[in-house]
Symmetry: C2
Subunit: 423 residues, 2 copies
């Protein structure tokens, strides 16, 4: 069993050992384990909710705010969603063994480039207990051992979830130690985890800037960082006004606290008179605080007095809330320059009816996900058909965008010869 | 022109600007530029050799050893090989725009995952001037701007090569600043380069441990490190004795100073009596100093007195010369454990006639390249049909093994919709 209190070194060594077995496990065994885990989550829902109730009680006593408590809270439906998530991952193709290249070299050597698991993946995350389940399912399917390090606010929920997963997985034939929870909330443990060279192959932080700063200072194992999401919607001169308003509104308002929501609206000067007066009113009615340049304010009618002048800092800010910056630009190029200057490479959208403008925006914007005529809110492993996600990368190396099964693999060149030597 | 003395910041800013143009350049334009560069190398061979003669003269005056002078030296044939290398890269498919995935999501959004260049790639390398050409060709074909930082020993050669490349490239329509040489030999410049966040997307060091240590301490941009190559040949119980001797000898002796040469020979106890006596003699005759365990020494006959006892340190050492560690193991598992414990994840070989042993070794060994019945010496971008290589990675993230065109790219999700919003 994997959730006793153990040292970081013990946990990582067990994970490394489990990883060796996991790497060569048949797809059918991994899938059977995932089905067993999904079934166990359903069967043990009462136990899970009891543990969660304890976390919630502690959280309320500690004065956690309503949003955090909501992210922490589980009910029967949310547990059922976890099981569904596991089965979604189960249904995806096994990335391990996928042939990325196969050739015979002139000297007769057969070259195959084959996907293999990374080994041991550690994930560090905050309140949401469903990450415990998503991360475990993705790790198992991709043949990786996983070390989970949740937040102390969710300690009881995570402990029972990790226990349910490990017990069901062990019984279904996963190597012992495949899924392990690092129970302690100590910062020193986090640092030790991130310095476990040779034991941990990748750390994925899902948390705030303080966590990232700690890892940047201390980590010795590879880390995939996700920058904040300073995302934009650009309304091109040729945009359909109704679509533009719908997309811009959705990208900002539908769930403003997440990284793929948009922070700045850019509108081409030719489209602004037809779009901004109504759209600024809609934002205002939805409780959005507006920070705009002078040209946008001039189109705000009676709202103009309530609008704050946007500063350089506003263009660079991820509000993660009901605040939005608005700027009128004179050209597509100006929009692209703005996005590349202030954006964080997460998700960027253009609304346009012009194919050339769409192409130029897609090619010119340097971001993980670029949308034409759709909301930025779709950047998500689940939405992308990846079952779930370990996180969302804004870096360019290894993984960009949602981190799913393939992103948890590396590859190996397998060369078969008949005694070839180099002359 | 790109080889005047400029500040690191100026060079990186020009490279960033060039990268934007390079990213969307047609394949035909890039290929025409590469052909122009190959032709210019041929046409300007006298100028190149003159510069090289100056470097060689300085090198001899500074007392550089023969091996270093040989790596530095150019002649007509080596310059012609550079041109051939450029045309080899030209002939490869353009990685940019390659579709890695394409699906329509249930909500009608079209998802495309498309290869795009990284942007600005910096390479830091030592004596060999051909790296200037190889790196430039790979960068151009993959749509990246490149910042070259060679060693001061090759400063004249690199300056003229970079000038030839930049002039031919500019004339053929590459954005100005696509290929730039960081001329200064100052360590502070190296550090500034490695801290140019937002300007440089990747640094690839090709040099010794001191360079890597400097980067580990100072780099803020992503670096792909290559560990040393502590490579092994394992002779299985079922190995063909002649093939085993041929492969083991080649892997050690053909070019012992390079990272894909082998350092330790592991021999199954059942195969050792038939193989080691003759093979140890061959190594000895070739001038290889042998460091073995007791069982190997017992099979060394009259050589036994000249054999040094291998220590724990020998198993962990990359000799990069005519020294070899030899160990007899009792099983395939013991060989795999030895390789995973002491190896650096570079290139590992098994010689065997047993399919199951080959499979177990390939699956069990954690390395970039695993060979069955072939020498480890083939790990090389050129040998792998990648035209050339920017370096050779032993890390698992992003690139593993030779760094060629694909490894110099990232990807972008391009989503086309009809106004989709998230509910």
């Amino acid at each position: 069993m994997a959730t006793r209190t153990q040292t970081v070194a013990e946990i990582c060594a067990q994970a490394r050992s489990a990883a060796r077995g996991l790497a060569t496990l048949e797809t059918a065994v991994k899938d059977a384990a995932l089905e067993a885990i999904a079934a166990a989550l359903e069967a043990r829902v009462v136990e899970i909710l009891e543990a969660n109730a304890g976390d919630l009680e502690d959280g309320r006593a500690a004065g956690l705010d309503a949003a955090l408590l909501d992210r922490l809270a589980l009910d029967e439906q949310r547990v059922e969603q976890m099981a569904v998530g596991v089965r979604d991952v189960l249904a995806l193709p096994d990335p391990v063994g996928e042939e990325l290249d196969a050739r015979t070299l002139p000297n007769g050597l057969s070259l195959r480039k084959v996907r293999v698991p990374l080994g041991v993946v550690a994930i560090i995350y905050e309140a949401r207990p469903n990450v415990t389940v998503d991360a475990s399912a993705l790790a198992i399917k991709s043949g990786n051992a996983v070390v989970l390090r949740g937040s102390s606010t969710a300690s009881r929920s995570n402990a029972v979830l990790a226990r349910v997963i490990a017990e069901a997985g062990d019984a279904a034939g996963l190597p012992e130690g495949s899924v392990q929870l690092l129970a302690g909330g100590e910062r020193s443990e986090l640092i030790e985890l991130a310095r476990s060279e040779g034991l941990v192959d990748l750390v994925i932080p899902r948390g705030g800037e303080a966590l990232k700063a700690t890892l940047k200072e201390h980590a010795r194992v590879p880390v995939i960082y996700a920058a904040a999401g300073n995302c934009h919607v650009y309304v091109d001169a040729s945009a359909d006004p109704d679509m533009a308003r719908r997309v811009a509104f959705n990208a900002k308002v539908q769930r403003p606290g997440v990284c793929n929501s948009s922070e700045t609206l850019l509108v081409h000067a030719d489209a602004a008179p037809a779009i901004l007066p109504a759209l600024l009113g809609e934002f205002h009615d939805a409780g959005v605080e507006l920070r705009t340049d002078a040209r946008a304010r001039a189109l705000a009618g009676s709202l103009a007095d309530e609008i704050v002048d946007a500063t350089e800092e506003d263009w660079a800010t991820e509000y993660l809330g009901l605040t939005m910056a608005v700027r009128v630009v004179d050209s597509l190029e100006e929009a692209i320059d703005h996005v590349n200057r202030y954006g964080t490479g997460h998700s960027e959208a253009i609304v346009t009816e012009a194919d050339q403008a769409a192409r130029d925006f897609v090619e010119g914007v340097d971001a993980a996900c670029v949308y034409v005529n759709a909301s930025t809110r779709f950047t998500d492993g689940g939405e992308f058909g990846m079952g779930a996600e370990m996180g969302n990368s804004t870096q360019k190396l290894h993984a960009r965008g949602p981190i799913g099964l393939r992103e948890l693999t590396t590859y190996k060149y397998v060369m078969h010869g008949t005694g070839q030597i180099r002359e």
